[in-house]
């Protein structure tokens, strides 16, 4: 191994799957799944540690993984997972229910979360029983996707929060760390893997890059197989270079990207204004030009592409405030009491000019373009916007304390629309200005939404949940707590010169993310190309 | 042809015990270098006093202290009896400046190349609140022997001698009573030096200005100065009427200086052996002759008067000097019998 030659064209059958990471300039040998995500080495929770189930937003299905089945009690307060038989840790010890119970205890201790989880107990060798404080159906997938760590290893670790876990023991397909350098490392096969037939590739190599630009360059140059970074004009710069082998698939299953307005400030406290401004935005142009055509306009349900099954299509088709209409938008603003002045610019009720900032983190170049397009659109209806682009930290800290006008923000994304609506309309997520919050930056809450959300959480089945989501969609369309722009595409591109078996739009067994829950599905599906003349 | 002695009046400027130490080295250095040590000089009204000495003996330092360009470490400078170092601690007053002026050695350096001649004169007049019209400028420039059209010139358009005259005109603009002239001729071509010296004499005679003429050229000191003081390693070692001093030098250092002046007219060139003897007497001990153990004690020498005291006494400070042996040769042979083969 380690000939050091360019990966391009290696089809010996032992070639490594090469994944570039544009977000890691250098790697630290830290395979601790409890460490902050920007620190822990990539693929730790994808290739080394596994979860009990894998939810795939591309097709809305949950695949049993370390657990073979799960069950929610009638009162919705207990969830029981049954573990798969014969799963072993990479050190040869078997996976037990104790491991799972221990993992949740550790997770809660170290990082908190799971407020609804009272306890996780092992019941026999293969059953884990989770007791919840209240009926909470969204909890199922959350619990299921927690990666499990071996108790016998972590028990001995003195300070699990700070441990770097340099030689991880996991149940995943590729657990052996090899050739670790600051800018690259390799993961080799787990000899004890429970699906040895699915470990078809020899190993994975991760490369570090300082940004999209250099990572893309390596990828486009054929030095990597699978990327998830943003590639400008992917058709021209990547696919066209080798249309037979190169492909991309950008399912719209990412979180909804919204134009968030600080509803504690006038005039954004007025839903009419929010809707009118939304109507002024040319989403076609936003997605086509700003987002390189990688996504499509949002509708007034606010739901991202991952929730297509939940979407009320009729509602989406009927409402107007997410459809571009500058005239209507102007009229709406006139009616709301913001008439144009003699100079063609609108005035606020206070008499001041209708101007505000749109804040975007400077690193997100695509969103900056989006903001600029919105600014241009607004100019057409007599509203002046300034695009402010300090670094993300500054932007976010403004959002967090409520010290901003408007901004372009992602929203929460979960297996169900519950989390999305909870953080856009639930009052419980609203914090007063000045107090920090990590979601609901627009600081909007509606008591009606609270009720619906609680009912959703308590609903025993999907049909019951669907009814609540329908109601929530209507409420969203009415309140317009945020202005949805477009669902975030889950970028993913690959070349099948060296590996085949990629998920595609036709075979969406996973999304093309190499850092998400479904990644393990891809890793266990790929096959190396052998001995092909190139 | 000499100006009549005006020596009965109190001197215009008296220097008493003037000492100047320079700080050497950087920010935290404590090294000091003594450039002047307890210098006493009187500059009478309407007289030219020459200060001679070799390079580095502290001549310029004295001039700069008197011009208040350097702050002396200790001592007194009495102008009309007022100790200006005490009364004007933070630099010289306008009044002092209008009394004491200075002409520098290098006429190429002492005129700012970016200004016209007119500027120098006009500024000097204006700063001291004097009228600065065409007439005043014209009068000034002609006083130093230049023509009116030179007012429009830049310094680089003038010859060295002309520049030095402009510098003198600038000094005259404030109507000073004392002009410190620091080697005003040493940077000039030999052929024009004498013109400047003559100008200095004219200033004394016609305007009653006192001059401190600093030079290492004894012949020129003899030519212009009424009295001459000899500075050696920061100390005054001999002084007196110029003619008397050069005819009968009493200090070995003065003798050495005199012997070194090339003079085709000299009847008997100084004997090299004699010269070596002088040199040994004066220069061998590292910095100061007092430290030569055999002949000089470590105490300061006393001041002897040479010849008759006639108001401008010729004096010398030297351990080697014995009043009974006033001539140069006797001093030397007595003092340095063993250095003949140096």
């Amino acid at each position: 191994s380690g000939t050091g030659t360019n990966a391009a064209g290696d089809t010996s059958g032992d070639q490594l799957l090469t994944i570039p990471r544009e977000d890691f300039a250098t790697f630290t040998r830290n395979f601790n799944p409890f460490a902050p995500s920007q620190v822990v080495a990539p693929l730790t929770t994808q290739a080394i540690y596994e979860a009990m189930l894998v939810y795939n937003p591309a097709n809305g299905k949950a695949t049993p993984w370390l657990a073979t089945s799960w069950e929610t009690s009638a009162d919705g307060r207990t969830v029981t997972f049954t573990l798969r038989d014969g799963v072993k840790w990479s050190d040869g010890k078997p996976l037990t229910a104790e491991d799972v119970a221990y993992t949740f205890a550790l997770q809660k201790k170290l990082l908190g979360g799971y407020e609804y989880l009272k306890s996780a107990k092992a019941e026999g060798a293969d059953k884990v029983v989770f007791s919840l404080t209240k009926p909470y159906s969204p909890g199922l997938f959350e619990l299921g996707k927690q990666v499990i760590v071996p108790r016998h290893v972590w028990e001995k670790v003195k300070d699990p929060a700070k441990d770097t876990n340099p030689n991880p023991v996991g149940t995943g397909p590729y657990t052996k760390v090899a050739n670790f350098q600051s800018q690259s490392y390799e993961l080799r096969r787990n000899p004890e893997y429970w699906q040895p037939k699915k470990q078809q590739i020899a190993g994975i190599r991760v490369l570090g890059f300082s940004g999209n630009d250099s990572a893309n360059l390596a990828f486009v140059n054929g030095e990597a197989d699978w990327t998830q970074s943003f590639i400008p004009d992917v058709q021209k710069s990547f696919v066209d270079k080798d249309p037979k082998h190169n492909a991309y698939w950008y399912p719209r299953t990412g979180s909804m990207v919204e134009w968030t307005m600080n509803t504690t400030k006038a005039p954004f406290d007025d839903p009419k204004v929010r809707k009118a401004l939304s109507q002024a935005v040319d989403r076609d142009s936003v997605t086509e030009v700003g987002m390189n055509g990688y996504t499509e306009p949002a509708d007034c349900t606010g739901l991202s592409g991952g929730y297509d099954a939940w979407r009320d299509a009729a509602l989406a088709a009927s409402c107007t405030w997410t459809k571009h209409d500058a005239v209507a938008a102007g009229k709406a603003l006139d009616e709301a009491g913001y008439p144009k002045g003699s100079d063609g610019r609108r005035k606020l009720k206070s008499g001041k000019p209708f101007t505000f900032d749109i804040s975007v983190g400077s690193a997100s170049s695509d969103w900056l373009s989006v903001a600029n397009i919105i600014k241009q659109n607004l100019a057409e209806v007599g509203v002046t916007a300034h695009v402010k682009s300090p670094d993300w930290a500054a932007v976010v800290s403004g959002y967090e304390t409520g010290d901003y006008d408007t901004g372009i923000v992602w929203s929460d994304n979960g297996a169900t629309p519950f989390q999305f609506y909870r953080t856009t309309m639930g009052t419980e997520s609203v914090k007063p200005v000045g107090t920090k919050t990590v979601s609901n930056y627009h600081r909007f809450g509606d008591k009606k939404a609270d009720r619906l959300l609680n009912e959703f959480a308590a609903a025993p089945d999907e049909a019951g949940q669907k009814a609540k989501v329908d109601a929530l969609q209507k409420l969203f369309a009415e309140d317009a707590p945020v202005v949805p722009l477009f669902p975030g595409p889950e970028w993913g591109a690959y070349t099948d010169i060296r590996f085949t078996g990629w998920p595609t739009a036709d075979n969406p067994y996973a999304t093309l993310t190499n850092r998400g829950d479904t990644t393990v599905l891809v890793l266990t599906s790929l096959k190396p190309v052998k001995n092909r003349q190139h | 042809m000499m100006a009549p002695a005006a020596a009965t009046r109190a001197p215009l400027l008296s220097v008493r015990g003037l000492t100047k130490d320079f700080r050497m080295g950087g920010l935290f250095s404590r090294d000091r270098h003594r450039a002047l040590n307890a210098v006493d000089v009187d500059i009478p009204h309407g007289r030219i006093v020459a200060l001679v000495g070799e390079s580095g003996s502290g001549k310029s330092t004295l001039a700069r202290c008197l011009a208040r360009l350097e702050q002396p470490s200790s001592g007194q400078v009495l102008l009309d009896g007022e100790d200006v170092l005490r009364t004007q601690k933070r630099g010289a007053s306008r009044a002092y400046r209008s009394t004491v002026q200075m002409v520098f050695q290098d006429p190429f350096g002492s005129l700012n190349p970016v200004h016209r001649v007119e500027h120098f004169l006009r500024r000097a007049l204006l700063v001291h609140g004097r009228p600065a019209g065409e007439d005043e400028l014209r009068e000034l420039i002609t006083t130093v022997g230049l023509t009116e059209d030179m007012l429009e010139s830049y310094p680089h358009e003038l010859s060295g001698g002309q520049r030095q005259r402009v510098a003198i005109a600038r000094a005259l603009a404030v109507d000073p009573r004392l002009v410190l002239a620091d080697e005003p001729t040493s940077m000039l071509d030999v052929s024009v030096r004498i013109g400047i010296l003559n100008l200095m004499r004219r200033l004394r005679d016609e305007h009653g200005i006192s001059l401190l003429y600093i030079t290492h050229d004894l012949a020129s000191a003899r030519y212009v100065a009424d009295t001459t003081q000899v500075l050696f390693a920061g100390e005054l070692v001999e002084g007196g009427d110029s003619l008397a001093l050069m005819d009968r030098p009493a200090h070995p250092y003065t003798q050495l200086l005199l012997s070194a002046v090339p003079d085709p007219e000299r009847t008997e060139g100084y004997d090299p052996v004699l010269r070596a003897g002088l040199r040994a007497a004066v220069l061998t001990p590292e910095s100061c002759p007092y430290e030569d153990e055999g002949t000089c004690s470590r105490t300061e020498p006393v001041r002897h008067t040479v010849g008759e005291d006639d108001g401008q006494p010729h004096w010398v400070r030297c351990h080697l000097y014995a009043p009974a042996t006033p001539t140069a040769r006797r001093v030397l042979t007595a003092a340095t019998p063993e250095v003949e083969n140096v």
């Binding site: 030009v289 300090p390 | 520098f104 004498i194 004219r202």
Partner: protein, 315 residues
């Protein structure tokens, strides 16, 4: 009784004014400017600079409207309607370059002027007052000079809120020291000249001596440091913006390059997005360097490149 020497009456009234350009080059500012215009390098530099300044000023006329306006998708090669092509977002590269000149030149010259002014003040105070003032100021200068600039720049930019003001401030903070050292040395040597002492003896006040007597003699050095600082300012701004530490919503050559990199201009073969701004930076810097070079040559004629002459006999 006095004997007037023979020069009291002017010997020969000068009929002709002396050579205006005598070998000892006139140091006056007018002289410097005149010599500059006569120098081919300086002329080239000046023409390029003036051209850029004009283009920057006329940007709203040549390329009206918002240059960063996003029009369409996909980069377009240079064509009749877009002489320099378009970026991946359909922005006209020519417009971006023209408008970019405004910010870049503005920042460059602001930094240049501010840093030089600071350096002049420090250098002058150091040289004029000497002693403790000098010791302390030159210590500070040397420390600033030694502390590596670009990392400090990056750190400062990271700590401060982004924006053009920050960029200028940060560049001045990191850029003044080198100039101050040069100016201090020059001012010190002029301070030591007798004409300064002569002004003191005349009774001039400190401020007047500094700015009327010393400063004019440093015209050429001030000019070289000014130009040097402008070069530094333009280059460093571009560097900072390229690293994403500037204000990405401002149109400048640095942000143009930042966006070019971000949009993968070179990866998609859209070299026309990448080349103009970089070339402009280089051209302006080169023009400034040429003027500088010329100033050096004029003040130090020995540096002039000699045309080899067919010497009959050589010494």
């Amino acid at each position: 009784m006095s004997v007037l020497d023979s020069r009291t009456e002017p010997a020969a009234p000068r009929t002709a004014p002396p050579d205006a350009d005598a070998p000892k080059a006139p140091r006056a500012r007018a002289g410097l400017l005149r010599s500059l215009l006569a120098n081919r390098k300086a002329l080239f530099g000046a023409v390029v600079l003036v051209l850029f300044v004009l283009l920057a000023l006329l940007a709203p006329l040549i390329a009206p409207g918002d240059p960063s306006k996003i029009n369409s998708l996909g980069a377009g090669a240079p064509s009749a309607s877009h002489p320099l092509g378009t970026t991946a977002k359909g922005q006209d590269v020519l417009a971006l370059t023209l408008w970019g000149a405004r910010s870049s030149l503005l920042v460059g010259f602001s930094v240049g002027i501010a840093a030089t002014a600071l350096a002049v003040l420090v250098g002058m105070a150091s040289a004029y007052f000497g002693r403790l003032v000098d010791d302390v100021l030159s210590l500070v200068t040397n420390i600033f000079l030694l502390v590596p600039g670009v990392p400090l720049l990056v750190i400062l930019a990271a700590f401060m809120p982004p924006g053009t003001t920050t960029v200028i401030l940060v560049l001045v903070v990191t850029g003044w020291a080198g100039s101050a050292r040069v100016l201090r040395a020059q001012a010190k040597s002029i301070r030591g000249k007798d004409f300064v002492a002569a002004s003191v003896v005349t009774g001039e006040r400190a401020v007047r001596i500094m700015f009327r007597e010393i400063l004019p003699n440093m015209a050429s050095v001030v000019m070289t440091t000014l130009l040097g600082c402008v070069i530094f300012g333009i280059g460093a701004q571009a560097g900072l913006e390229f690293l994403g530490l500037g204000d990405a919503s401002v149109v400048s050559w640095g942000t143009n390059l930042y966006w070019a990199g971000n949009d993968g201009a070179l990866m998609t073969g859209a070299w026309w997005v990448f080349v103009p701004s970089g070339l402009c930076i280089a051209l302006v810097a080169f023009a400034l360097a040429m003027v500088n070079y010329a100033v050096d040559e004029i003040t130090n004629p020995r540096l002039r490149a000699r045309r080899p002459r067919t010497a009959t006999k050589k010494g």
